[in-house]
Amino acid sequence: MAEFSTSIVNKGDVSIINLSGYLDAHTAPTLENNFTELIDQNKFKVVVNFNDLAYISSAGLGVFMAYIENIRNNNGDIKLTNMNDKVFNIFDLLGFPLLYEIFKTEEEAVKKFSESSGVGSK
């Protein structure tokens, strides 16, 4: 389908992955590589910003499932922010909000990390 790209920004010990475009089975490997890199660098506090993401498929959702266990086992977490309604609806249907913390803004997510001093909430 269409283009997909990611960029990683570090805010203190929190890594922010910005997503844009279409996240589906064909583009998912890009995001997978991002997670693998962060884990290799022992960065387990991850915020994923969905602000510019237009679409996510089930394969895209799978990426978060693949890494959450490893990251939480290392006292980290994946927090999701800035979803548009459509993307949130997909996460919501599958019950992701019950398992992942989803915030309106990136700042809230970063703040949550510092409050909980790096312990994953779920």
């Binding site: 089975a25 394969a59 499932m65 266990e69 599958l94 019950g95 398992l99």
Partner: protein, 631 residues
């Protein structure tokens, strides 16, 4: 047949003979008078060697031609014999012109025969130089022997005059042959190199054009390309710089190590713009400061683009150790060759692509076949229910699945599910999911319990990236009640009177949560059914169907269509929905499977009886399956 070695060998023997010959003459001369035995042995030797020499000459004459053409040679032999015999029998001076004529004719034939030496053209430069040297030596030897008028020839003369004439003729023939050979070779030397290369090119191109049609394997092909490159351009080493995942790596190295070529690659890529290279370029390695790190002292190289679909896919490098740069001839040869190589590499790529495509298509065929077999062949039969189901597979099997479980005459279980992912892997998971629900539905009635059990099984068997969304429901006909549980799937839509109610009990998709969260967050709702209630089960293939501006069909429009048609029978409703979806997305390919299951509660119709089953016809190019209705 290595003509060079063969002829060199023969020359050596003749040379050897001639030396012995001279040596023996010396001996005989010095001893003056000695037993005739010695002379006799000597003559036998001369006869032997002469015969051998003659055979050798004949062999040389026949080089590169068919035996039928040796009539000139045979004629020459006849004249040799005639000359010899006439020398024996014609003693008077008046008649000596006869033997003289024979000798003259023989000589003419010798010249004619000596001119037939086209085979030297096919020798390599090295062989030609060897031949040149040998022919000088041999010619001199022949001339010396032929002109020998010392005691030895007198002795020969006294021994047998015809034999003497015969030997003299052979020696003259040899002298003429080799001197012609000498001059011809001499004139061939300056062009030998060019000729060599042309010959090499011709054979390489022939070899390569064959390869273009034969080589299926990319590695094998590139190895051949570099191998031929070294031959065509007389280079010491060759390799291809290949772009893989944005990295430039040397492949198919010929006569050069990976480390060396990788070092030189950096130099080349500094000097050359990958995408702009359109023709073969020269580079001198004297400008390369890291040359000391390379194990061989290379001096010059050429780089040629290997293009496919107009894009540079790789660079073909040829490199030389010696001082001389590659000349224009080399450049031409490599350029021509790299064009051929490009075509071959492009072909090999296309072939690989089409094989891969075919493989994928086969795989999808299998996946579709599995899906088709997994889905129920027909809808179950209950007096109180109208049931319709539509399934339209996407090109890449999308992982949609639904099933009915006729638990008893008064209880119907149903499930709709969507496996994340596509293709054959989704199809296999579908098969697993079908098995799980089928067996669970036999022992458990509660939709919630069934989903909890299904999750317990699937969380262990699914890989971490895969999940299954599902809705499981149970209709109790006696009680007129329906229980529903939802695991991450699209909500169930209940059409009652003029309202479409989205039934969305809490629940996480199967296989997503490995711990107790699934159980904790799973709800089950019970709905008391009313006459004409319609239960709509669907997958996101409907709501996420896209039009050309990539807009979704959407839940809102979906419910609108449902409400508009709510008073029709279930087949009509589903036909209408599919029609709308098809019209909406007619300019966009169907990306996901579409599944729509409709159940309509008709408790009163059971008394009316009379039912009818009919298949809904195909709509456009999309396939309708398992559509049946009850009246």
């Amino acid at each position: 047949m290595n003509i060079g070695i063969l002829s060199a060998f023969i020359f050596f023997l003749i040379f050897f003979y001639s030396s012995v010959n001279s040596l023996l003459f010396e001996n005989v001369n010095n001893t003056g008078f000695l037993p005739t035995i010695f002379t006799f042995v000597y003559f036998l030797l001369i006869i032997g060697f002469t015969t051998y020499m003659f055979v050798a000459l004949r062999h040389l004459f026949l080089l590169g031609r068919s035996s039928r053409q040796n009539i000139y040679f045979n004629t020459m032999i006849v004249f040799f014999l005639l000359a010899s015999v006439s020398a024996r029998f014609i003693t008077s001076d008046e008649l000596s012109f006869i033997s003289a004529t024979f000798i003259v004719v023989s000589t003419m034939l010798m010249v004619i025969n000596s001119l037939r030496i086209s085979w030297i053209a096919f020798l390599t430069k090295k062989e030609k130089i060897t031949l040149l040297f040998l022919s000088v030596v041999i010619t001199v030897l022949f001339i010396v022997n032929a002109n020998n008028t010392g005691n030895e020839s007198l002795m020969l003369l006294s021994f047998s005059k015809p034999f003497n004439v015969f030997i003299s003729l052979i020696l003259i023939y040899g002298a003429i042959y080799f001197s012609v050979l000498f001059f011809t070779t001499l004139f061939h030397i300056p062009t030998a190199e060019v000729f060599d290369r042309k010959a090499q090119e011709v054979s390489s191109l022939q070899y390569f054009s064959k390869l273009i049609t034969q080589v299926l394997d990319f590695d094998e092909l590139t190895e051949t390309v570099t191998d031929i490159t070294t031959k065509v351009s007389d280079a010491d080493a060759s390799w291809i710089i290949w772009k893989e995942n944005d990295e430039f790596i040397p492949i198919a190295n010929k006569n050069i190590g990976f480390v060396d070529s990788d070092l030189i690659n950096k130099f080349i890529l500094q000097k050359i713009n990958w995408n702009d290279l359109s023709e073969t370029k020269f580079l001198m390695l004297t400008e390369f400061d890291e040359l000391v790190k390379v194990s061989n002292l290379y001096k010059a190289l050429t780089v040629s683009p290997l293009k496919a679909h107009g894009k540079v896919k790789g660079l073909l490098v040829a490199i030389r150790k010696d001082e001389d740069r590659f000349n224009e001839e080399d450049k031409k040869a490599i350029a021509t060759f790299s064009d051929y190589a490009s075509v071959a590499i492009e072909n090999s790529g296309l072939l690989e692509e089409s094989i891969e495509k075919e493989r994928l298509e086969k795989e999808l065929d299998v996946a579709r076949e599995i899906q088709k077999k997994i889905l129920p062949e027909k809808n179950p039969f209950y007096d109180e229910l109208e049931i319709s189901s539509v399934f339209i597979p996407a090109f890449e099997v999308g992982g949609d699945f639904y099933d009915f479980f006729e638990i008893s005459k008064t209880k119907l279980g149903f499930v709709i599910a969507d496996v994340s992912g596509k293709g054959i892997s989704a199809a296999f998971i579908m098969a697993e999911v079908k098995g799980i629900f089928e067996s669970l539905s036999k022992t458990i009635e509660s939709p919630k319990e069934i989903l909890i059990n299904a999750n317990d099984i699937l969380k262990h068997t699914l890989d971490t990236k895969t999940f299954v969304s599902a809705v499981y429901g149970l209709i109790d006909i006696e009680k007129g009640q329906m229980k529903i549980s939802r695991a991450g799937h699209c909500p169930v839509i209940l059409l009652r009177n003029d309202i479409a109610k989205s039934v969305k009990p809490s629940g996480i998709g199967l296989g997503i949560s490995k711990d107790d969260h699934f159980k904790e967050h799973l709800d089950e709702v019970t709905i008391d059914l009313e006459e004409n209630d319609a239960i709509v089960l669907y997958t996101d293939g409907i709501t996420e169907a896209k039009n050309e501006s990539l807009e979704d069909f959407g839940e809102k429009y979906f419910t609108e269509v449902l409400l508009e048609n709510r008073n029709n029978n279930v087949d009509e409703i589903s036909r209408k929905v599919i029609q709308e979806v098809t019209m909406f997305s007619h300019n966009h390919s169907q990306y996901d499977d579409i599944t729509l299951v409709l159940l309509k509660w008709k408790p009163r119709q059971s008394k009316e009886g009379g039912r009818d089953r009919q298949k809904i016809k195909k709509d456009g190019d999309k396939e309708w399956q398992n559509s049946a209705h009850q009246l």
